[in-house]
Subunit: 213 residues, 2 copies
């Protein structure tokens, strides 16, 4: 049950910075939106995920951008650990979307790939199945122009503006690492986002079939 | 890869009725929307599902309602067979939603339950986990009033307007059949729909991890 979107995960972040509560809250929300809320394993949201930031104020004032950068780094690190530690997961997948209409569009398509059981099962099998990536994306965006879309897996371009290209074995080799990136380039605009997911394994099913939560 | 929504399934329906092509097409679309398009196994849509109806015209004219009823019955039968024959599936689940704002709302919530890997894994394990049903529904409808919602599994009411009720063992017994119903009553209006799905098994993952499609 991991796709927080702040919907049983509890995270606490501490700082000694002297920062007004409203600024800390706004900065935390900004960081959470870009990290925890872009983590989708089984796409099943929980009901009481929470991220809390505490500031003692014992330290110096902090520049607003530095605060956001710090929160982003800490939250991204925690979100990555959740993905690595997910039920039955053996591989961390970073779904990177660029060239989307805007950030919201990029997040939606990244989530669609992260939510695809077919693609996540292929990842588990070490199969660089770019067709399953495109099927997930096309299902989420009916107006997609494939002649403008490229897909890379593990740094190898496998589909380039309407045509299959590249060496599947190279992508498959990159997938053997515990972590790899799927890069989706849409050619529509300047929106970009990264969504974290992991493979779908037999162990995930066993864990969730045999244990009541 | 089974969640047709007409997005590799080919279905052909034949009749000897004498019926104009446009009426046959409209009636087929009506029946498909209520059957094939309410089937969601892994929620991964394919790219070229098609349902084609052919009429020889050798028979008599047919009443429009009788034509629709016939097409609905045939399409529902075929959709049910797809669910039973799905990769790794051992149980057919009918997600019935009533009391929704309208039919579209009912379909959306039925699809949300059908798309929940957590719920589908629980089904595989024979666990009447109504909490996973509610989590899926709540994720799809942020404004849900739980005090108006009821959930039954296999004919046993397990959650009734905000309170856990019923006998889990009775629901678990009903789930041992090859087919059972989840009934979700929302108390919001008169919209209703039924969405078909099946359990998520280890075999589904193995099949899709080891075979490139």
């Amino acid at each position: 049950m991991i796709a927080p979107n702040m919907a049983t995960m509890l995270a606490f972040v501490g700082t000694d910075a002297r920062v007004p509560a409203d600024e800390l809250q706004a900065s935390l929300g900004w960081a959470v939106e870009r990290t925890f809320n872009r983590l989708s394993l089984d796409a099943c949201e929980s009901t009481n995920d929470s991220v809390v930031a505490l500031a003692t104020g014992a330290g110096p004032e902090v520049d607003a951008n530095a605060l956001r950068a710090g929160l982003l780094e800490v939250c991204a690190g925690l979100a990555t650990k959740i993905a690595r530690d997910a039920e039955g997961a053996t591989k961390l997948v970073r779904v990177s979307v660029t060239g989307a209409r805007d950030e919201e569009h990029a997040v939606a398509l990244g989530r669609a790939v992260a939510a695809s059981d077919l693609w996540r099962a292929a990842v588990h099998g070490g199969d660089p199945n770019w067709g399953r990536v495109l099927a997930a994306v096309g299902s989420a965006d009916r107006n997609l122009d494939l002649d403008a879309v490229s897909v890379s897996v593990g740094g190898e371009i496998l589909f380039d503006r309407g045509e299959p290209v590249g060496v599947l074995a190279a992508a498959a080799a990159a997938m053997r690492d515990g972590e790899f990136r799927v890069e989706l380039v849409l050619g529509q605009g300047h929106g970009s986002a990264e969504v974290l997911t992991a493979d779908l394994s037999e162990e995930y099913v066993t864990l969730n079939a045999e244990v009541t939560t």
